[in-house]
Amino acid sequence: MLDHLFYTLQLADNALILGHRLGEWCGHGPVLEQDIALTNISLDHIGQARSLYQHAAHLTNEIPQEQRAKIFQSVTLNNKINSGELLQEDDLPYLRDAWDFRNALLTEQPNGDWAYTVARSFFYDVFYFLYYTKLKDSKDAQLAAIAEKSLKEVAYHQRWSSEWMIRLGDGTEESKTRIQNAVNDYWQYSGELFVMSDAENAMLKKGIGVDAAALKPEWDAKVEAIFKEATLSIPEEKWMQKGGKQCRHSEHLGFILAELQYMQRAYPGMEW
Protein backbone atom coordinates (compact mmCIF):
# COMPACT_ATOMS: atom_id res chain seq x y z
CA MET A 1 0.00 0.00 0.00
CA LEU A 2 2.78 2.38 0.97
CA ASP A 3 4.65 1.64 -2.26
CA HIS A 4 1.49 2.28 -4.22
CA LEU A 5 1.12 5.66 -2.51
CA PHE A 6 4.78 6.60 -2.98
CA TYR A 7 4.63 5.56 -6.62
CA THR A 8 1.60 7.76 -7.24
CA LEU A 9 3.22 10.65 -5.37
CA GLN A 10 6.37 10.32 -7.46
CA LEU A 11 4.31 10.79 -10.62
CA ALA A 12 2.27 13.60 -9.07
CA ASP A 13 5.31 15.48 -7.74
CA ASN A 14 7.07 15.31 -11.11
CA ALA A 15 4.04 16.83 -12.82
CA LEU A 16 3.49 19.49 -10.16
CA ILE A 17 7.08 20.68 -9.85
CA LEU A 18 7.70 20.90 -13.59
CA GLY A 19 4.29 22.54 -13.99
CA HIS A 20 5.25 25.10 -11.36
CA ARG A 21 8.60 25.80 -13.00
CA LEU A 22 6.97 26.38 -16.39
CA GLY A 23 4.36 28.59 -14.74
CA GLU A 24 7.17 30.84 -13.51
CA TRP A 25 7.56 31.96 -17.13
CA CYS A 26 4.08 33.50 -17.07
CA GLY A 27 4.49 37.12 -18.16
CA HIS A 28 8.19 36.63 -18.97
CA GLY A 29 8.08 34.67 -22.25
CA PRO A 30 10.21 35.97 -25.14
CA VAL A 31 7.11 36.49 -27.29
CA LEU A 32 3.46 36.43 -26.28
CA GLU A 33 2.65 33.21 -28.16
CA GLN A 34 5.41 31.27 -26.40
CA ASP A 35 4.48 32.76 -23.05
CA ILE A 36 0.99 31.35 -23.63
CA ALA A 37 2.44 28.05 -24.86
CA LEU A 38 4.39 27.54 -21.65
CA THR A 39 1.49 28.39 -19.38
CA ASN A 40 -0.78 26.07 -21.39
CA ILE A 41 1.72 23.25 -20.98
CA SER A 42 2.11 24.15 -17.31
CA LEU A 43 -1.66 23.88 -16.88
CA ASP A 44 -1.63 20.40 -18.41
CA HIS A 45 1.06 19.29 -15.95
CA ILE A 46 -0.78 20.76 -12.98
CA GLY A 47 -4.03 19.20 -14.17
CA GLN A 48 -2.32 15.81 -14.37
CA ALA A 49 -0.84 16.39 -10.92
CA ARG A 50 -4.31 17.16 -9.58
CA SER A 51 -5.73 13.84 -10.81
CA LEU A 52 -2.73 12.03 -9.34
CA TYR A 53 -2.99 13.80 -5.96
CA GLN A 54 -6.69 12.93 -5.77
CA HIS A 55 -5.69 9.32 -6.24
CA ALA A 56 -2.82 9.63 -3.73
CA ALA A 57 -5.13 11.19 -1.12
CA HIS A 58 -7.54 8.31 -1.61
CA LEU A 59 -4.69 5.78 -1.21
CA THR A 60 -3.48 7.53 1.97
CA ASN A 61 -6.97 7.51 3.49
CA GLU A 62 -7.21 3.74 2.96
CA ILE A 63 -4.22 3.18 5.23
CA PRO A 64 -5.21 2.59 8.90
CA GLN A 65 -4.97 5.74 11.04
CA GLU A 66 -2.09 4.60 13.29
CA GLN A 67 0.06 3.74 10.24
CA ARG A 68 -1.03 6.85 8.38
CA ALA A 69 0.50 9.03 11.05
CA LYS A 70 3.92 7.50 10.35
CA ILE A 71 4.13 7.80 6.56
CA PHE A 72 5.36 11.37 6.29
CA GLN A 73 7.97 13.49 8.03
CA SER A 74 6.06 16.72 7.53
CA VAL A 75 4.74 18.25 10.75
CA THR A 76 1.83 20.21 9.29
CA LEU A 77 0.56 17.26 7.29
CA ASN A 78 0.94 14.92 10.25
CA ASN A 79 -1.03 17.32 12.46
CA LYS A 80 -3.86 17.06 10.01
CA ILE A 81 -3.61 13.26 9.86
CA ASN A 82 -3.47 13.03 13.68
CA SER A 83 -6.60 15.16 13.96
CA GLY A 84 -8.38 12.25 12.27
CA GLU A 85 -9.39 14.27 9.22
CA LEU A 86 -9.25 12.51 5.85
CA LEU A 87 -6.77 14.00 3.39
CA GLN A 88 -7.89 15.97 0.35
CA GLU A 89 -5.95 16.36 -2.91
CA ASP A 90 -4.59 19.79 -1.88
CA ASP A 91 -3.11 18.60 1.42
CA LEU A 92 -0.38 16.61 -0.33
CA PRO A 93 1.15 19.41 -2.41
CA TYR A 94 0.59 22.15 0.18
CA LEU A 95 1.39 20.51 3.50
CA ARG A 96 4.33 18.24 2.69
CA ASP A 97 7.87 19.48 3.21
CA ALA A 98 10.71 19.07 0.72
CA TRP A 99 11.96 15.82 2.33
CA ASP A 100 8.63 14.14 1.54
CA PHE A 101 8.70 15.09 -2.16
CA ARG A 102 9.62 12.39 -4.67
CA ASN A 103 10.07 14.28 -7.93
CA ALA A 104 13.15 13.67 -10.06
CA LEU A 105 15.86 16.34 -9.71
CA LEU A 106 15.41 17.31 -13.36
CA THR A 107 11.99 18.85 -12.75
CA GLU A 108 13.16 21.24 -10.02
CA GLN A 109 16.13 22.66 -11.94
CA PRO A 110 15.86 26.41 -12.58
CA ASN A 111 14.35 27.81 -15.77
CA GLY A 112 17.64 29.50 -16.73
CA ASP A 113 17.30 31.02 -20.16
CA TRP A 114 14.89 29.84 -22.85
CA ALA A 115 17.31 27.10 -23.93
CA TYR A 116 17.53 25.59 -20.43
CA THR A 117 13.74 25.54 -20.17
CA VAL A 118 13.45 23.85 -23.56
CA ALA A 119 16.15 21.24 -22.83
CA ARG A 120 14.63 20.33 -19.46
CA SER A 121 11.16 19.91 -20.99
CA PHE A 122 12.53 17.95 -23.93
CA PHE A 123 14.21 15.33 -21.71
CA TYR A 124 11.05 15.08 -19.61
CA ASP A 125 8.53 15.02 -22.46
CA VAL A 126 10.32 12.29 -24.42
CA PHE A 127 10.49 10.21 -21.24
CA TYR A 128 6.88 10.73 -20.21
CA PHE A 129 5.52 10.03 -23.67
CA LEU A 130 7.11 6.56 -23.47
CA TYR A 131 6.15 6.19 -19.83
CA TYR A 132 2.46 7.00 -20.15
CA THR A 133 2.23 4.79 -23.24
CA LYS A 134 3.06 1.89 -20.91
CA LEU A 135 1.22 3.15 -17.83
CA LYS A 136 -2.09 3.22 -19.68
CA ASP A 137 -2.06 -0.60 -19.38
CA SER A 138 -1.57 -0.43 -15.60
CA LYS A 139 -3.59 -2.79 -13.41
CA ASP A 140 -4.54 0.24 -11.34
CA ALA A 141 -7.51 1.43 -13.40
CA GLN A 142 -7.26 4.99 -12.10
CA LEU A 143 -3.56 5.34 -12.99
CA ALA A 144 -4.30 3.78 -16.38
CA ALA A 145 -7.06 6.32 -17.02
CA ILE A 146 -4.86 9.25 -15.96
CA ALA A 147 -2.08 7.98 -18.24
CA GLU A 148 -4.44 7.56 -21.18
CA LYS A 149 -5.69 11.11 -20.75
CA SER A 150 -2.25 12.62 -20.12
CA LEU A 151 -0.69 10.86 -23.08
CA LYS A 152 -2.62 13.03 -25.52
CA GLU A 153 -1.30 16.13 -23.80
CA VAL A 154 2.28 14.89 -23.51
CA ALA A 155 2.31 14.06 -27.23
CA TYR A 156 1.67 17.73 -27.85
CA HIS A 157 4.33 18.83 -25.36
CA GLN A 158 6.89 16.50 -26.91
CA ARG A 159 6.24 17.95 -30.32
CA TRP A 160 6.63 21.47 -28.98
CA SER A 161 9.91 20.83 -27.15
CA SER A 162 11.38 18.73 -29.99
CA GLU A 163 10.70 21.50 -32.47
CA TRP A 164 12.37 24.04 -30.20
CA MET A 165 15.43 21.82 -29.80
CA ILE A 166 15.77 21.79 -33.59
CA ARG A 167 14.95 25.47 -34.00
CA LEU A 168 17.60 26.52 -31.47
CA GLY A 169 20.23 23.91 -32.36
CA ASP A 170 19.96 24.43 -36.09
CA GLY A 171 19.42 28.17 -35.66
CA THR A 172 21.96 30.94 -35.16
CA GLU A 173 25.39 30.61 -33.64
CA GLU A 174 24.07 32.20 -30.47
CA SER A 175 21.04 29.93 -30.15
CA LYS A 176 23.13 26.85 -30.86
CA THR A 177 25.68 27.77 -28.19
CA ARG A 178 22.93 28.34 -25.66
CA ILE A 179 21.01 25.12 -26.29
CA GLN A 180 24.23 23.08 -26.31
CA ASN A 181 25.22 24.65 -22.96
CA ALA A 182 21.79 23.87 -21.54
CA VAL A 183 21.98 20.27 -22.77
CA ASN A 184 25.48 19.86 -21.32
CA ASP A 185 24.37 21.18 -17.92
CA TYR A 186 21.05 19.35 -17.59
CA TRP A 187 22.17 16.07 -19.12
CA GLN A 188 23.35 14.87 -15.69
CA TYR A 189 19.73 15.03 -14.45
CA SER A 190 18.29 12.90 -17.27
CA GLY A 191 19.65 9.59 -15.95
CA GLU A 192 17.61 9.56 -12.74
CA LEU A 193 14.40 9.13 -14.73
CA PHE A 194 15.52 5.56 -15.53
CA VAL A 195 16.78 4.59 -12.07
CA MET A 196 14.02 2.54 -10.47
CA SER A 197 13.00 3.55 -6.96
CA ASP A 198 11.84 0.93 -4.43
CA ALA A 199 8.26 1.98 -5.04
CA GLU A 200 8.70 1.62 -8.80
CA ASN A 201 10.18 -1.87 -8.43
CA ALA A 202 7.37 -2.97 -6.13
CA MET A 203 4.68 -1.59 -8.44
CA LEU A 204 6.30 -3.12 -11.50
CA LYS A 205 6.04 -6.54 -9.85
CA LYS A 206 2.33 -5.99 -9.26
CA GLY A 207 1.66 -4.94 -12.84
CA ILE A 208 0.76 -1.45 -11.68
CA GLY A 209 4.00 0.37 -12.45
CA VAL A 210 6.19 0.80 -15.51
CA ASP A 211 9.70 -0.50 -16.08
CA ALA A 212 11.36 2.89 -16.44
CA ALA A 213 14.82 1.38 -16.93
CA ALA A 214 13.59 -0.52 -19.98
CA LEU A 215 12.57 2.74 -21.67
CA LYS A 216 16.16 3.93 -21.93
CA PRO A 217 17.01 2.57 -25.41
CA GLU A 218 13.89 4.14 -26.92
CA TRP A 219 14.55 7.42 -25.13
CA ASP A 220 18.16 7.40 -26.38
CA ALA A 221 17.04 6.75 -29.93
CA LYS A 222 14.50 9.57 -29.91
CA VAL A 223 16.91 12.04 -28.30
CA GLU A 224 19.65 11.06 -30.75
CA ALA A 225 17.35 11.57 -33.74
CA ILE A 226 16.31 15.04 -32.60
CA PHE A 227 19.90 15.99 -31.70
CA LYS A 228 21.01 14.95 -35.16
CA GLU A 229 18.43 17.14 -36.81
CA ALA A 230 19.29 19.94 -34.39
CA THR A 231 23.03 19.50 -35.19
CA LEU A 232 23.70 19.11 -31.45
CA SER A 233 26.14 16.75 -29.81
CA ILE A 234 25.22 14.33 -27.04
CA PRO A 235 27.33 15.05 -23.94
CA GLU A 236 30.03 12.48 -23.26
CA GLU A 237 29.52 12.70 -19.50
CA LYS A 238 28.09 9.43 -18.24
CA TRP A 239 27.88 10.24 -14.52
CA MET A 240 24.35 11.05 -13.43
CA GLN A 241 22.88 12.92 -10.47
CA LYS A 242 20.18 11.18 -8.52
CA GLY A 243 18.30 11.42 -5.23
CA GLY A 244 15.01 13.19 -5.90
CA LYS A 245 13.05 9.96 -6.07
CA GLN A 246 14.51 9.10 -2.63
CA CYS A 247 13.38 12.50 -1.28
CA ARG A 248 16.93 13.96 -1.43
CA HIS A 249 16.68 17.21 -3.32
CA SER A 250 18.77 20.07 -4.59
CA GLU A 251 18.42 23.39 -2.76
CA HIS A 252 16.01 24.56 -5.46
CA LEU A 253 13.01 22.58 -4.25
CA GLY A 254 12.80 24.43 -0.94
CA PHE A 255 12.50 27.75 -2.75
CA ILE A 256 9.83 26.38 -5.08
CA LEU A 257 7.79 25.09 -2.15
CA ALA A 258 8.20 28.34 -0.23
CA GLU A 259 6.41 30.13 -3.03
CA LEU A 260 3.96 27.37 -3.87
CA GLN A 261 2.86 26.69 -0.29
CA TYR A 262 3.02 30.18 1.17
CA MET A 263 -0.72 30.93 1.22
CA GLN A 264 -1.79 27.60 2.71
CA ARG A 265 0.90 27.75 5.37
CA ALA A 266 0.19 31.38 6.31
CA TYR A 267 -3.61 31.01 6.13
CA PRO A 268 -4.39 27.33 6.73
CA GLY A 269 -7.45 26.05 4.87
CA MET A 270 -7.83 29.28 2.92
CA GLU A 271 -10.07 29.09 -0.16
CA TRP A 272 -10.50 31.55 -3.02
Binding site: I41, D44, G47, K149, L151, S162
Partner: protein
Protein backbone atom coordinates in the same frame (compact mmCIF):
# COMPACT_ATOMS: atom_id res chain seq x y z
CA UNK B 1 -44.07 16.34 -9.97
CA UNK B 2 -40.95 14.27 -9.37
CA UNK B 3 -42.52 11.40 -11.29
CA UNK B 4 -42.26 13.57 -14.35
CA UNK B 5 -38.45 13.70 -14.23
CA UNK B 6 -36.94 11.42 -16.87
CA UNK B 7 -33.44 11.09 -18.28
CA UNK B 8 -34.77 12.51 -21.56
CA UNK B 9 -35.79 15.64 -19.69
CA UNK B 10 -32.42 15.85 -17.98
CA UNK B 11 -30.71 15.71 -21.39
CA UNK B 12 -33.08 18.46 -22.51
CA UNK B 13 -32.08 20.62 -19.56
CA UNK B 14 -28.39 19.93 -20.24
CA UNK B 15 -28.93 21.59 -23.62
CA UNK B 16 -29.10 24.79 -21.61
CA UNK B 17 -25.69 24.30 -19.96
CA UNK B 18 -22.88 25.80 -21.99
CA UNK B 19 -19.08 25.96 -21.83
CA UNK B 20 -18.17 29.22 -20.02
CA UNK B 21 -15.20 29.70 -22.38
CA UNK B 22 -17.12 28.93 -25.57
CA UNK B 23 -20.70 29.90 -24.71
CA UNK B 24 -22.21 28.72 -28.02
CA UNK B 25 -21.38 25.11 -27.21
CA UNK B 26 -23.59 23.10 -24.89
CA UNK B 27 -22.09 20.32 -22.81
CA UNK B 28 -23.84 17.89 -25.16
CA UNK B 29 -22.32 19.52 -28.26
CA UNK B 30 -18.90 19.08 -26.71
CA UNK B 31 -19.51 15.41 -26.04
CA UNK B 32 -18.45 15.56 -22.40
CA UNK B 33 -21.64 14.01 -20.96
CA UNK B 34 -20.97 10.27 -20.66
CA UNK B 35 -24.01 9.16 -18.65
CA UNK B 36 -27.06 10.32 -16.71
CA UNK B 37 -28.63 8.15 -13.99
CA UNK B 38 -31.75 8.95 -11.97
CA UNK B 39 -32.63 7.44 -8.64
CA UNK B 40 -35.91 8.09 -6.80
CA UNK B 41 -36.18 7.22 -3.12
CA UNK B 42 -39.35 6.17 -1.27
CA UNK B 43 -40.18 9.81 -0.43
CA UNK B 44 -40.06 10.71 -4.09
CA UNK B 45 -36.80 12.71 -3.94
CA UNK B 46 -34.76 12.38 -7.10
CA UNK B 47 -30.97 12.05 -7.15
CA UNK B 48 -29.26 12.59 -10.48
CA UNK B 49 -25.77 11.30 -11.22
CA UNK B 50 -24.16 12.95 -14.20
CA UNK B 51 -20.90 11.48 -15.50
CA UNK B 52 -18.71 13.96 -17.33
CA UNK B 53 -15.33 13.53 -18.94
CA UNK B 54 -12.84 16.40 -18.66
CA UNK B 55 -11.55 17.94 -21.88
CA UNK B 56 -7.97 18.83 -20.86
CA UNK B 57 -6.55 17.72 -17.48
CA UNK B 58 -6.05 21.25 -16.26
CA UNK B 59 -9.05 22.92 -17.87
CA UNK B 60 -10.44 25.34 -15.25
CA UNK B 61 -13.81 25.41 -17.02
CA UNK B 62 -14.57 21.88 -15.82
CA UNK B 63 -15.33 22.98 -12.27
CA UNK B 64 -17.62 25.75 -13.54
CA UNK B 65 -19.36 23.34 -15.90
CA UNK B 66 -19.95 20.92 -13.01
CA UNK B 67 -21.45 23.72 -10.94
CA UNK B 68 -23.68 24.89 -13.81
CA UNK B 69 -25.00 21.37 -14.36
CA UNK B 70 -25.76 21.14 -10.67
CA UNK B 71 -27.65 24.44 -10.67
CA UNK B 72 -29.59 23.60 -13.83
CA UNK B 73 -30.82 20.32 -12.36
CA UNK B 74 -31.49 21.53 -8.82
CA UNK B 75 -33.62 24.37 -10.16
CA UNK B 76 -35.80 21.78 -11.96
CA UNK B 77 -36.73 19.94 -8.78
CA UNK B 78 -34.00 17.32 -8.57
CA UNK B 79 -33.05 17.05 -4.88
CA UNK B 80 -29.46 15.89 -5.16
CA UNK B 81 -26.94 16.03 -7.98
CA UNK B 82 -23.73 13.99 -8.09
CA UNK B 83 -21.16 14.97 -10.68
CA UNK B 84 -18.73 12.17 -11.40
CA UNK B 85 -15.62 12.55 -13.52
CA UNK B 86 -14.63 9.75 -15.85
CA UNK B 87 -11.15 9.93 -17.37
CA UNK B 88 -11.27 6.88 -19.61
CA UNK B 89 -11.91 6.75 -22.49
CA UNK B 90 -10.14 10.09 -22.83
CA UNK B 91 -12.18 12.92 -24.34
CA UNK B 92 -11.56 13.70 -27.99
CA UNK B 93 -12.88 16.37 -30.32
CA UNK B 94 -14.13 13.48 -32.48
CA UNK B 95 -17.04 13.39 -30.03
CA UNK B 96 -18.11 16.93 -30.81
CA UNK B 97 -21.49 17.02 -32.56
CA UNK B 98 -21.81 18.25 -36.16
CA UNK B 99 -24.26 20.81 -34.86
CA UNK B 100 -21.64 21.95 -32.35
CA UNK B 101 -19.05 22.35 -35.12
CA UNK B 102 -21.50 24.42 -37.15
CA UNK B 103 -22.23 26.64 -34.15
CA UNK B 104 -18.51 27.15 -33.54
CA UNK B 105 -18.01 28.25 -37.11
CA UNK B 106 -20.87 30.73 -36.94
CA UNK B 107 -19.39 32.05 -33.71
CA UNK B 108 -16.09 32.75 -35.51
CA UNK B 109 -14.04 29.77 -34.25
CA UNK B 110 -12.77 27.28 -36.83
CA UNK B 111 -14.03 23.84 -35.72
CA UNK B 112 -11.81 20.75 -35.34
CA UNK B 113 -11.88 18.69 -38.55
CA UNK B 114 -8.96 16.24 -38.47
CA UNK B 115 -9.53 12.94 -36.65
CA UNK B 116 -7.63 12.98 -33.38
CA UNK B 117 -5.72 9.72 -33.96
CA UNK B 118 -4.37 11.07 -37.26
CA UNK B 119 -1.31 12.74 -35.70
CA UNK B 120 0.59 15.63 -37.25
CA UNK B 121 4.31 15.46 -38.04
CA UNK B 122 6.78 17.85 -36.48
CA UNK B 123 6.53 21.36 -37.89
CA UNK B 124 3.27 20.35 -39.57
CA UNK B 125 0.10 22.27 -38.74
CA UNK B 126 -3.57 21.87 -39.52
CA UNK B 127 -4.65 23.77 -42.60
CA UNK B 128 -7.75 25.52 -41.41
CA UNK B 129 -10.37 27.45 -43.39
CA UNK B 130 -11.17 30.98 -42.17
CA UNK B 131 -14.52 30.85 -40.34
CA UNK B 132 -15.35 34.37 -41.58
CA UNK B 133 -14.59 34.38 -45.32
CA UNK B 134 -14.01 30.65 -45.92
CA UNK B 135 -10.58 31.18 -47.47
CA UNK B 136 -8.08 28.31 -47.18
CA UNK B 137 -5.24 30.82 -47.31
CA UNK B 138 -4.56 31.03 -43.56
CA UNK B 139 -1.52 30.70 -41.33
CA UNK B 140 -0.91 29.53 -37.80
CA UNK B 141 0.11 32.28 -35.38
CA UNK B 142 0.40 30.18 -32.24
CA UNK B 143 -0.31 26.56 -31.52
CA UNK B 144 -1.43 27.60 -28.04
CA UNK B 145 -4.27 30.04 -27.52
CA UNK B 146 -6.22 31.77 -24.75
CA UNK B 147 -7.56 28.40 -23.55
CA UNK B 148 -6.00 24.92 -23.67
CA UNK B 149 -8.42 23.83 -26.41
CA UNK B 150 -7.69 26.55 -28.96
CA UNK B 151 -4.88 27.73 -31.24
CA UNK B 152 -4.49 31.06 -33.01
CA UNK B 153 -4.65 31.60 -36.78
CA UNK B 154 -4.66 34.52 -39.17
CA UNK B 155 -6.54 34.71 -42.48
CA UNK B 156 -4.33 35.97 -45.31
CA UNK B 157 -7.35 36.80 -47.50
CA UNK B 158 -9.60 38.84 -45.20
CA UNK B 159 -6.72 39.64 -42.80
CA UNK B 160 -8.79 38.74 -39.74
CA UNK B 161 -7.27 36.81 -36.85
CA UNK B 162 -9.30 33.85 -35.60
CA UNK B 163 -9.21 30.91 -33.20
CA UNK B 164 -9.16 27.25 -34.12
CA UNK B 165 -10.62 24.63 -31.80
CA UNK B 166 -7.72 22.15 -31.78
CA UNK B 167 -8.14 18.56 -32.85
CA UNK B 168 -7.48 16.63 -29.66
Amino acid sequence: MSNAITTEKVYDWLQGVTDPEVPVLTVLDMGIIRDVQLDTDEKGSVTATVVITPTYSGCPAMDVIGMNIRMALLSRGITKVNIEQQLSPAWTTDWMSEEGKQKLKEYGIAPPERKSDDALDMFEDDSVACPRCGSEDTELVSRFGPTACKSLYRCLSCKEPFEHFKCH
